[in-house]
């Protein structure tokens, strides 16, 4: 084994225009200028509206079940094979649905964060 050489950071060719904007973005936020405020507000709005859309999807599916069974009491007698439909919906099918909603959320939230990083720049990889 030879002596380890000094670590070299390998980077891609600089994209000039993009870099100017990048450095500026984080500076604006750090200095709490009006522009930095705009950057932050847009990130918060994106993330919050994403969260609220997922919660709405949850409320309009799982959340409507009690009302549905209240309005249509006959649903209690409906069966899928030997299993009452309420047991099937709440005992089994709800769980993959929750995981799917969570998976969609994580993907979109990370996407939003990448967009934000591109917008304000200086990504430290």
């Amino acid at each position: 084994m030879s002596e380890p050489s000094a670590r070299v950071r390998v980077t891609g060719p600089p994209r000039r225009r993009a870099q100017d904007v990048r450095a500026a973005g984080t500076r604006e936020i750090d200095a709490e200028t009006a522009l930095g405020e705009v950057f932050m507000r847009s990130l918060l709005r994106e993330q919050l509206s994403l969260a609220l859309r997922v919660l709405a999807a949850l409320a309009l599916t799982v959340g409507l079940l009690p009302l549905l069974f209240h309005v249509f009491p006959g649903l209690g007698d409906v069966r899928v094979g030997p299993v009452p439909v309420a047991w099937l919906l709440l005992g089994v099918l709800t769980y993959p649905w929750l995981v799917l909603l969570g998976w969609i959320y994580v993907r979109r939230a990370e996407h939003n964060e990448r967009d934000f990083a591109d917008l304000v720049g200086s990504v430290d990889e």
């Binding site: 932050m40 799982v62 009690p66 309420a86 047991w87 998976w103 994580v106 990370e110 200086s122």
Partner: protein
Amino acid sequence: MPGVVAVVLVSLATLAIGTWGLRISRTTSDFLVASRTVAPRLNASAIGGEYLSAASFLGVAGLLLTFGAEMLWYPVGWTAGYLVLLVLVAAPLRRSGAYTLPDFAEARLGSRGVRKLCSVLVVGIGWLYLLPQFQGAGVTLRATIDAPPWAGSLVVALVVLASVSPGGMRSITFVQAFQYWLKLTALLVPVFVLLAVWMADGSADPTAAAPASWSVPLASPGGGVGLYTTYSLIVATFLGTMGLPHVVVRFYTNPDGRAARRTTLAVLGLLGIFYVLPPVYGALGRIYAPDLAAGRSDVLVLELPSLMVGGVAGSFLTGLVTAGAFAAFLSTSSGLTIAVAGVLSQDVTGRRFGTRRLGGVAAFRVAAVIAVVVPLLLSLPAQDVAVARTVGLAFAVTASTFAPLLMLGIWWRGLTPAGAVAGLLVGGLGSGFAVAWTLAASPDEGWESALLGQPAAWSVPASILTMVVVSRLTRASVPAHAGRFMVRLHTPEAVELQR
């Protein structure tokens, strides 16, 4: 006999893994920083292990046996609570750098008063949640070896103290992760055997002997009261999860906000897999153990294997479910004890008494003893309340206090210390009074009982509204660092910013 073996084995394994984990964590200089490197998959198992308590392991199946589909809302709510936590607080909470809820409140609002109030709430909620764990342990030991109810509670309390006192998130992480998989195995393996026995017996219909309400997911009296109770339970469980003291502590062990999200997603999957199982016990119980429905439903999971399967196989399965139940008490109790003791040692036992002052580790150990002994004593007279119900009440309190604080604190920079205190008091006192009334009085089926027995549907909006209104009235005292704190909470770590 298989019950004793199972209890001893689980206790020993817990202590052994705890000690082994402790050795690993000694190799790093900084305990908490080491904990920050827990990978999402291990961390998700640990969270699942900590979260699946006696209520999930024993309580749900028992309630399903007695009341039917309306009780499916408990496991659904406990899982959906993680989805709500994921989308509203997971990444920001990790990025806040707060180790406990009082830490978060103080960092966000810059107020010692809010911190103290949060500390009181954490201790109260922790005790309310520890109570059913000890109760469940008593039930388990009585069912398996006919020990007096206090014996099981005492064993759990002692093992928890022995494994928690050395301290250390790292070692607890391994213990909790092990206990998730133990609990899953302990329910999953018997399910296959029991279903095979059921099919060999001719696949009897579980709903044949059950009342019609058994297939309707609405709370018991039905009508308007039933609808209210059901929705109130949904509000409590969907929102209550994010405010549980032992859940928040775990988020700090993620490396960053992105990992916190991925961990939470993995937890959703793990909980979903687990919660498919208790309904099977509840349904089979309708056929093979209908008499347990009246009063002794908490032992259903423990007794069903021996009722359906005889001989050595039956004993083995009984040992397995007993082991799982004990793991459930130990993991949840350890997590809660750490959370409560952490707060107590910061704010009570670590303080100066006269001229004397305890050191950090000693203060934590004294705090751990206090954290365990109080609910242990309280659990002795309260053996009759169903385990899952007491846990349900704890969720109502967290949903009315910490959930509004976290949601508004993370998404609304206008929150002021005065607003937070007012909202915490309104939600905490409202739901707390309802809980005390429910534990003391015998509930009937009227509106009054429903409103007090399941307070979340009114106490959560009341708390949120109070926080918003009082914050607006005191808007001059919005913390100066609120904007900077929002940057810290919401921007990805990869972007270089002052935080």
